[in-house]
Symmetry: C2
Subunit: 166 residues, 2 copies
DNA sequence: GATAATTAGTTACAAATGAAACTAAGTCAA
DNA sequence: TTGACTTAGTTTCATTTGTAACTAATTATC
């Protein structure tokens, strides 16, 4: 028995649920897009270096500005404090990060990469830069700007919605 | 490449890890963007209807084409078979989906929404359509097309990279 | 037609993630 | 001071998600 239905198929009314097409639904496209991009970066820092997303992000942020507390890291990485805490744990375990206690406020940590951490980052950064370029290959400079600008615009819309629930 | 620094701020050398800025790193922007968009849709199907992402997607796909097997669902929803299996379980438990066995091939399932499922979808679809519109508010028709086109282009680049590992 | 190889779907286990409770330290106000 | 409140960061527990192994049914091969 093949699944030949006694066709009620064209009974859908426009605006109805029936003609909803997931594959052209914008949030679905965003998810598929994100997944592909995400996987490509992950293949570098995870597969090649055994880092988690949080660990990679923490390293990237700590690479620029030298030392900072966990809460500064939270502010600059859009991770929550739990993830930061776990990233710090993981990086310390791997000898990539050193944690000291702030003398002025002993609740605060002072986080900085170790030499090994900086060395790892020096290897990693050119690779992710290359990947970034490869992701954007075939897009003109204008298109890149446009893409980023439009993503930003949509993101702001989304964040505004969150604050104004239905 | 225009991001060639001539001046050495502090001790960082151009192309070095030191001047890497996570907050302008493209995959990071994609993640932040995705998170915001994702959360806004989730607030509808999860918060209002108690559905998981997979469940929502399965319903959306099954809403259009009447009945299909789990593997067809896999093909149309970019979920893997485990997630589809779980979504089916969850939807059945909620009485939103009915599973029969295909007579021709008894490994195959024949999945279709129940009347309750269709009714839920009828309520849900206008809400997610409205959300989609709100996300894209302020973008012209051209900008919407451009955004989708560029995301698609980047996604293809990313997928090509996956098949050509470094 | 027996048996090897595929395919559909499920289950089981491990790792990742999120929310909430918790500990420790610091601030404020009396 | 002392007690209430806030802040920094960690731990715990429940949920989600991903990978791999598995069962059952079908197809291919000899």
């Amino acid at each position: 028995m093949s699944d030949v239905e006694t066709s009620e198929r064209s009974e859908t009314v426009p605006g109805d649920a029936g003609d909803f097409d997931l594959e052209s639904f914008f949030p679905y496209l965003v998810r598929v897009y994100y997944r592909s991009v995400s996987e490509s970066v992950t293949s570098i820092y995870a597969t090649l270096f055994g880092l988690s997303v949080s660990e990679w992000r923490a390293m990237a942020v700590l690479g620029t500005d030298q030392a900072m507390s966990a809460s500064e890291l939270v502010a600059r990485s859009s991770m929550d404090k739990v993830n930061v805490s776990r990233a710090v744990q993981g990086l310390r375990k791997g000898g990539l990060l050193k944690r000291d206690i702030d003398g002025d406020d002993r609740r605060r940590s002072v986080l900085r990469l170790t030499e090994k951490g900086r060395e790892t980052l020096r290897t990693l950064v050119p690779l992710v830069r290359k990947l970034e370029e490869e992701l954007l290959e075939g897009l003109s400079s204008d298109e890149r700007d446009t893409l980023i600008r439009l993503m930003e615009k949509v993101r702001k819309n989304a964040d505004a919605l969150r604050r104004t629930p239905h």
